[in-house]
């Protein structure tokens, strides 16, 4: 148990992660279409400010600005040759901020999807995916990340490739998927499927869970799906601050700090041990979440009805784990 995240998980009932990276950087002036990772080299002060914001708002864990740091993503900005450098810098800035804090803060280096579809459906082979994630992981390790934080993954194949890369780099890791399609990932993975998949990995994550997706209600339904199976590995909940709305030419997430505070407590009551936000979650939201987690006593496991009542309805009637979802077509004669 040498790593800092395992130690904190051992000492504390819950840990608070951070909020949005992308939407926060856009508010700092990042232009749509530009790679946030380039700012690790070009705008280090803004990246420090991003990290510091989470630390000051009470986060125990913050993610580094390295989400799109694989060669597959950086090549879209003609920066595929800078994978090692940009990831190292993103993690090193995080190390700097965490080391200057007056408490233990975990530097979690984000690792997002390649954006490509894996074989046999798509062109990305397991070997290439592992190689790309590994290259990124080595940069993150060099920069001093405590843990690699794989997030927003849709395909189990890609999750497994990231796990293998973390193993090759000798790094502890956390991995979350995005459940945005009728309560499943884009590739059809249910919360129960993910628990099974994670249980079979030979380099298991320190924690697993859900991030992003639709609203915070859907995210909690997914968390309930995980914890219903009583996994041994701690669960992460990192939901969006509501749903994006178009208001007078601008995009605004409709979840208030008060609502995210409710979400945070419900996430804990649902069995999540690491709780944070995703898109639209500002430092104001984080402060409200921290305060609520510290002051509200733990409650009973919430029902789906209670979640819908407090945080809003679900995007689909079923999430594929209750047997109440729509039935697949009955083939005339099954070939397989």
């Amino acid at each position: 148990m040498s790593d800092v995240l395992s130690r904190l998980l051992n000492e504390r009932d819950w840990l608070m992660a951070d909020g949005a990276t992308g939407t926060t950087l856009f508010n700092m002036g990042l232009q749509a279409g530009d790679s946030p990772e380039l700012w690790n080299a070009d705008q280090p002060d803004k990246i420090r400010a991003l990290y510091q914001g989470a630390v000051d708002a009470g986060s125990d864990i913050f993610l580094c600005n390295t989400f799109g740091g694989t060669a597959a993503r950086l090549k879209l900005h003609d920066a595929a040759h800078r994978v090692r450098e940009l990831n190292r810098l993103g993690a090193a800035l995080g190390r700097e901020v965490a080391d200057a804090a007056d408490r233990t803060v975990v530097v979690a280096a984000s690792m997002g999807p390649t954006g490509e579809i894996m074989a046999p459906m798509g062109n990305l082979t397991h070997e290439i995916a592992v190689e790309m994630f590994h290259e990124q992981a080595e940069g993150l390790k060099e920069g001093g990340a405590d843990v690699i934080w794989v997030e927003t993954i849709s395909a189990p194949e890609e999750y497994r490739a990231a796990a293998e890369a973390c193993k090759l780099a000798g790094m502890p890791w956390v991995g979350t998927m995005s459940f945005d399609t009728a309560g499943r990932t884009m590739m059809g993975v249910t919360s129960a499927d993910m628990v099974t998949m994670v249980g079979k990995l030979d380099h298991p994550p320190l924690a697993f869970g859900a991030n992003c997706g639709v609203g915070s209600s859907d995210l909690l339904r997914t968390v309930l799906g995980f914890t219903a199976l009583a996994p041994e590995i701690p669960v992460v909940a990192k939901g969006n601050a509501g749903i994006p709305k178009y208001v007078e030419g601008h995009i605004h997430y409709d979840g208030t700090p008060e609502l995210m505070a409710e979400y945070a407590c419900m996430a804990r009551d649902s069995g999540a041990r690491i709780i944070g936000g995703c898109c639209g979650t500002t430092t104001e939201h984080l402060k409200a979440m921290r305060a609520a987690l510290e002051t509200h006593p733990a409650g009973p496991r919430p029902t789906l009805e209670a979640i819908a009542e407090t945080l809003g309805g679900f995007s689909s009637a079923s999430d594929g784990t209750d047997g109440n979802g729509p039935e697949a077509r009955t083939r005339r004669r099954r070939r397989s």
């Binding site: 579809i117 399609t181 009728a182 178009y246 697949a328 004669r333």
Partner: protein, 234 residues
């Protein structure tokens, strides 16, 4: 899969039965079986256009509906589209040679600033699966790309996709430019992407917001048939 395939011998099926089997095989993403069945229907004297509409497009409609309803997910749809593609490869030259009617043509791309293209690719595949011609402009398209391609390709539909809340407002730039040039009504404008919704589609003046690739196909068919009706009436 293969050990049970002997159960079904496509060439021994009655034609009506064969078409239903093709719907199942598309659903299961069986490319070789689809190719074989397309050839059988052609040998039995079906017009290429009939093979396209009654066997392939009808089968993909089932796939699309189940994708929309959260029964099938991306992997199954990709496999089905791939099987469809196998059939289309055979039919395409025959459709051209027989002067079969066109379903319609779409130019599609992610908007300027947005490089996320999985959703757009799915729509392209499903639209092709439904028999539309698709011109894929790729990622990060400024307004000129859409308009030049639409004119050059004599497109019916302009499709725009965005994954980011920061790039979706660019769709309005494209539509406003079309209005300024007086060509807005020459095209059906469909928009889609994870952070969008119907309200947004209306606010920027698109013809429709499409929640997913299956809805995009249904919406496109609907608008195209209305366009044809208007032409017939006018």
């Amino acid at each position: 899969m293969s050990d049970q395939e002997d159960d079904i011998i496509l060439s021994e099926l009655e034609t009506a039965e064969l078409v239903l089997q093709m719907h199942d095989d598309l659903y299961d993403g069986l490319k070789e079986e689809i190719e074989e069945a397309v050839n059988i229907l052609l040998e039995r004297g079906w017009e290429p256009y009939q093979v396209l509409t009654e066997a392939l497009v009808a089968g993909m409609t089932i796939v699309g509906n189940d994708f929309r309803d959260g029964i099938l997910f991306v992997p199954e749809v990709l496999l089905a589209a791939n099987a469809m593609k196998g059939g289309m490869f055979i039919l395409k030259p025959l459709l051209v040679a027989t002067g079969a009617p066109r379903m319609g043509k779409m130019v599609i791309g992610t908007v300027k600033g947005d490089i996320h293209d999985i959703g757009k690719n799915l729509v392209s595949m499903m639209m092709e699966g439904a028999g539309f011609e698709v011109v894929d402009l790729g990622i990060n398209n400024p307004v000129e790309n859409y308009l030049e391609a639409a004119v050059k390709e004599e497109a019916d539909i302009i499709g725009m996709s965005a994954l980011l809340t920061t790039t979706m407002p660019y769709m309005k730039v494209v539509i406003d430019t079309m209005i300024a040039k007086g060509i807005r009504d020459d095209y059906i404008v469909l928009v889609g992407g994870a952070p969008l919704n119907e309200e947004f589609g209306r606010a920027i003046g698109a013809d429709a917001y499409c929640r997913d690739a299956a809805v995009a196909v249904e919406t496109a068919k609907d608008f195209i048939s209305r366009k044809h009706n208007q032409l017939a009436a006018g």
